[in-house]
Symmetry: D3
Amino acid sequence: MEKAIYYEDYELGSVRETMGRTITETDIVIHAGQVGDFFPHHMDAEWCKTTPFGQRIAHGTLTFSIAVGMTANLINPVAFSYGYDKIRFIKPVAIGDTIHVKVTLAEKRDHPKKTDMGFVIEKLEVFNQRDEIVLVTSHVMLCQKKNKKEQ
Amino acid sequence: MEKAIYYEDYELGSVRETMGRTITETDIVIHAGQVGDFFPHHMDAEWCKTTPFGQRIAHGTLTFSIAVGMTANLINPVAFSYGYDKIRFIKPVAIGDTIHVKVTLAEKRDHPKKTDMGFVIEKLEVFNQRDEIVLVTSHVMLCQKKNKKEQ
Amino acid sequence: MEKAIYYEDYELGSVRETMGRTITETDIVIHAGQVGDFFPHHMDAEWCKTTPFGQRIAHGTLTFSIAVGMTANLINPVAFSYGYDKIRFIKPVAIGDTIHVKVTLAEKRDHPKKTDMGFVIEKLEVFNQRDEIVLVTSHVMLCQKKNKKEQ
Amino acid sequence: MEKAIYYEDYELGSVRETMGRTITETDIVIHAGQVGDFFPHHMDAEWCKTTPFGQRIAHGTLTFSIAVGMTANLINPVAFSYGYDKIRFIKPVAIGDTIHVKVTLAEKRDHPKKTDMGFVIEKLEVFNQRDEIVLVTSHVMLCQKKNKKEQ
Amino acid sequence: MEKAIYYEDYELGSVRETMGRTITETDIVIHAGQVGDFFPHHMDAEWCKTTPFGQRIAHGTLTFSIAVGMTANLINPVAFSYGYDKIRFIKPVAIGDTIHVKVTLAEKRDHPKKTDMGFVIEKLEVFNQRDEIVLVTSHVMLCQKKNKKEQ
Amino acid sequence: MEKAIYYEDYELGSVRETMGRTITETDIVIHAGQVGDFFPHHMDAEWCKTTPFGQRIAHGTLTFSIAVGMTANLINPVAFSYGYDKIRFIKPVAIGDTIHVKVTLAEKRDHPKKTDMGFVIEKLEVFNQRDEIVLVTSHVMLCQKKNKKEQ
């Protein structure tokens, strides 16, 4: 769905939550193949038995990418994705874990130069099925302001 | 390959460059399918003709994940990936663009509490075939120190 | 998104349209691999040059499955998918064609036995970028009625 | 294999059965990624535990597409696929279920206008490993007649 | 299809040819991801421009695997695949090349110890659309003999 | 990594071992889809229960391709892959088996005509997690000689 949401429309502190998704062995194998990372942490079940976690874990880039994808529910033609800050891998994600994402509108700030634009920062918290946080990051969007003169 | 590289072994300012990889339509279709983001920016060639860029672009998470995967050449048993800072999407990546990554050892700092550990930050710069930077980020690793007393 | 829509809520004649999606060579290769149909119509560019259409075409099941997937935007807990009627392959879909789906609420009828249920039929028309219909079908949903007595 | 089978050659009531195929978690994840349907019925093992069926189920379009693919064993240059009638989802297909298809030549009828063509309808019944029917549909083929005058 | 073909049934010199299949960029990307070989010969279009061939080529294991798969049309319960001899990569396979396989029953020989078994060797020749041989190999099958005494 | 290794540099009897990799159901499903081999040995868990091995096995071409990919750690610009000899399928590989490859420099011989070239043969032995050999083959490389006169 496409809908214009301007800088002023984003409400500080507002929260939305995504549906859940189970991270499968298939996801890990496809991601390894897409990014070319076949480290034993992800691909070698025998080797993993010798680690503290005891089993294969999802690539950090996999959990991050799926979590970001899960939050993409709306095309906003007056905003674009500027980047991500502080991705932190809090806990490993195992095969069979089910994750969902809580998105909090955490911050708004004017663009230092462009008076008709502002940064909107969404905090993403990725939880597993035990409500443990496994990954956090902040999505930085650059948005148009509705009423340029008032800025 | 597995090789122990301790905090002290990382040399500030050292640089390595990866091989190149062409981002294909296949990569975008598989990534859309993996993360569930079928936005027209990535999937609708007709719609993209109406945008300034004029063609489909890679998901930011795709360029990021492939770039990170391209730098993963060594298993270091005395370090682990702590996270990524400041992912910035500088330029769009089109189908057929060939990217490579320049990795610079940018920073080292002690862990504030664990005296036997330190943070090592690699700066990743992703270039396309015209030597334009398309994405930057910083990889934060947490590494063991070799000689704990000397720290 | 999850939202309960009862039999009575569906409005005859209402129309929605999906975003577009370009059918790629990748989609055809992945679908062939998923369903095991490697007929030359889909996989052999040389052979296809000898046919009237002159090029590889998407599997009928591919166009159907993607079109159905494109219409799935809402989880309705009081309805479920009963089946599809009259899939008709009107025109071939070539690599690079961009399709979108027009969904029309075409029919409602009581369930012959279950007085608290009714059938809701959505007509799906799949168009290519030249606004030619390439596939039609009817989606049959079985929905709960809101007010059972009034039925 | 390519072999011309004319309208007259199809024998009413003839039956063929396909080999079996186990529907895997991989099939579901790849199909979700191909068609863009990440509904929790297919992707969220935790959510599925709260449903009557208790586990993830295959997309209807997945079972249909694989079943159709399993029956495609012969290229008939004098026939083409016209469409499918009455797809009905009889029972859910779970991860690990093994399906096979029974194909019965169910009906033949003249084309209303083209005297040199006729419709041949194959009934497809998809069974699981407990010999329960999980999906039925009818494949409508349009076939050339061998001896046009005799028709 | 399953059919018992005994050692004696294989006719020396008999030939069969497969349908064709176009090797796509998708095939190469998926194969790289499956086997973990991201060498620039297959993945870096810019680097390939500097090579004599000038473009990306299929992995040898990809052409071999697809060719072998194309010949697998019959399940023979009284034979099994013993191995392959002398795979030779004669010419590179480029994206867009269409290959087919000619299978010649090249040799039969008794098993040195098991009197009820014999080796049957099929020669596989893989051609591109210009009828150039790109790969050859010999498939070694171990087959049961029909009439053990007569051997 | 790219590094020139000449014919003379290869040391007879030298050995290297790869990391391990668990062969997953996903690998088998993707390989079946890539090569078009949906034989019940790989795809039908119920049918496999009736066989001596009792479960689905990896395609021979899958184990071979992954094993070869696992050994590809270095781009040698003065050598190229000439082919493979004597692939032998020693034991079946089941879903969940973890394989690794031992590579032994087994043989060197002059090219019969080109005095500046020689053949270098690596023996590949693929082991499972019980240290059983499951597949062997010999990789034939054609390498440039460093000092052409001395040969």
